[in-house]
């Protein structure tokens, strides 16, 4: 009889642990999805600000007819790779606008341009926050599915990719202006 009680207790503990761990995986996945959509929002905001700034810049550089930015595709539910690529293209676009603004003092001192610079800086800070939140959630999830004993229940899950904005910033992205 005592053996049976111990067996039932052990089975109950294992069942509670399995349900709790399985739920934790799901919660962690939801958090990753939430923070990924945070990155999408921040990327969209940054892109909007950059395109507005590009329009302002173009009005000051009418003789530079070939100043055309490559189209950056943003959509809901992008993969981490696509988000990394879009972010890297935006970095290039921002660098190009800033480089061009150096040659046009009137553009640099324009109120609208300065306002947009402040907006872009804020959007970039939001993007950094979203990236760090996402990577923090990915670290937690990847750790959960890797370490024992929770790894025993993680057969249906694969490791998530990190959003490595800085690495892609340095990558060679083909952009034409």
């Amino acid at each position: 009889m005592p053996f049976l009680i111990i067996l039932v207790a052990v089975v109950a503990i294992i069942a509670v642990w399995a349900i709790s761990t399985s739920n934790n995986f799901k919660v962690a996945k939801i958090k990753i999805d939430e923070s990924r959509s945070g990155i999408e929002v921040a990327l969209t905001k940054r892109y909007d600000m950059l395109t507005k700034q590009l329009d302002v810049a173009k009005s000051f550089m009418q003789h530079e007819k070939d100043f055309v930015a490559e189209v950056i595709y943003l959509r809901k539910g992008m993969s981490v790779g696509e988000m990394n690529e879009a972010s890297a293209k935006m970095d290039k676009m921002a660098d190009r606008i800033n480089f061009t603004a150096e040659a046009y003092p009137q553009l640099r001192s324009s109120d609208l341009f300065v306002q947009l610079q402040v907006g872009i800086r804020d959007a970039e800070e939001h993007l950094q926050a979203a990236r760090r939140a996402y990577n923090s959630n990915v670290t937690r999830f990847n750790t959960m599915i890797t370490v024992f004993p929770s790894s025993l229940l993680a057969k249906n899950y694969t490791k998530e990719d990190f959003f490595e904005a800085e690495a892609h910033k340095r990558a060679d992205v083909d952009m034409k202006f």
Binding site: V27, K31, E34, S35, G38, R121, D122, E125, H126, Q128, A129, A130, R132, A133, N135, S136, N137, T139, R140
Partner: protein, 292 residues
């Protein structure tokens, strides 16, 4: 009024020591009279206790009002554009917002002193020494336990901050496990392991929390925390207020019997410098300033 010298301070201290000695002797004689049945001794002893008690209290107030207060006012005038100092007042209850601090203890009574309302580089700040007391009863026995004693600072940035966020110094590894277990929804872990080890980070808004806690900000908070003596609580509120409370177990602006006027001034100035350093850390953060 003529400023007090160290000689005046020493004279007041000597008087205070004499009155305290009179008070102690009065108490002893009163009990001796009670125990030996000499009621005639009790009456003069009781009178001595009353008189020396009043005199001790009066001279303590005189030292606080006539020596500590002018020193404090001169220190504040050196640092702040505008300042008010009330030695016997404290931060009002509505400003403390104790529920928002999520303290790991109960609070039944709030005491405090040395209220300062000042403007630092355009920023509105209020602070005071605060003592929080938990009244614990078990059967007939009631005890008053001081659960928090130290400086409490409230900065008003005037505009909303990105997230409601609490940073609370972590007590032990057991607490860390308990925090993870009971607050898994709103506990946040950053990429800075030293910061995670030091502070419980709690917010319902993960993105907002990361936006406020930039890597640079976390480093600066760790540096500031290393300077302070005590457990630090920092509460960022969407309303634009930031509360910083340091449970140091001491009254930061209290008169110390062994100090000279210069030493007192130096100590008060270093306490105020610590406060302004903390404010500078918050002000340096773009993510607070952009919103605020």
């Amino acid at each position: 009024m003529q400023p007090y010298s160290n000689h005046d301070l020493a004279t007041l201290r000597r008087k205070k020591s004499l009155y305290t000695a009179g008070l102690v002797i009065g108490i002893v004689l009163f009990f001796v009279g009670m125990l030996s049945g000499a009621i005639l001794l009790c009456f003069p002893a009781f009178a001595a206790v009353a008189v020396f008690g009043i005199l001790t209290n009066r001279i303590s107030k005189q030292i606080k009002d006539e020596i500590c207060t002018p020193i404090m006012q001169s220190v504040l005038a050196d640092v702040f554009e505008r300042s008010e100092y009330h030695s016997r007042e404290r931060l009002p209850d509505y400003l403390l917002e104790l529920e928002e601090m999520q303290f790991p203890f109960d609070v039944d009574r709030i005491e405090g002193s040395d209220y300062i309302h000042a403007t630092y580089q355009g920023l509105n700040i209020e602070m005071s020494d605060i003592r929080l007391v938990d009244v614990r009863s078990s059967g007939k026995h009631t005890s008053h336990v001081t659960v928090f004693e130290g400086l409490w600072l409230v900065c008003d940035f005037g505009k909303p901050i990105a997230a409601d966020l609490l940073l609370r110094e972590r007590q032990t590894k057991v607490f860390r496990f308990a925090d993870k277990w009971f607050h898994s929804d709103d506990n946040i872990e950053t990429e800075n392991e030293a910061f995670n080890e030091k502070f419980v980070i709690r917010s319902r808004d993960q993105h907002g929390a990361f936006y406020v806690l930039t890597p640079h900000m976390m480093e600066r908070i760790l540096q500031a925390d290393a300077m302070g003596a005590g457990d630090t609580y920092i509460r960022f509120m969407k309303t634009g207020k930031v509360h910083i409370s340091i449970n140091s177990g001491r009254d930061a602006f209290e008169y110390n019997a062994s100090e000279s006027i210069e030493q007192m001034k130096h100590r008060f100035a270093s306490e105020i410098r610590y406060v302004t350093d903390l404010i500078d850390i918050l002000r340096l953060s773009d993510t607070i300033q952009n919103n605020a």
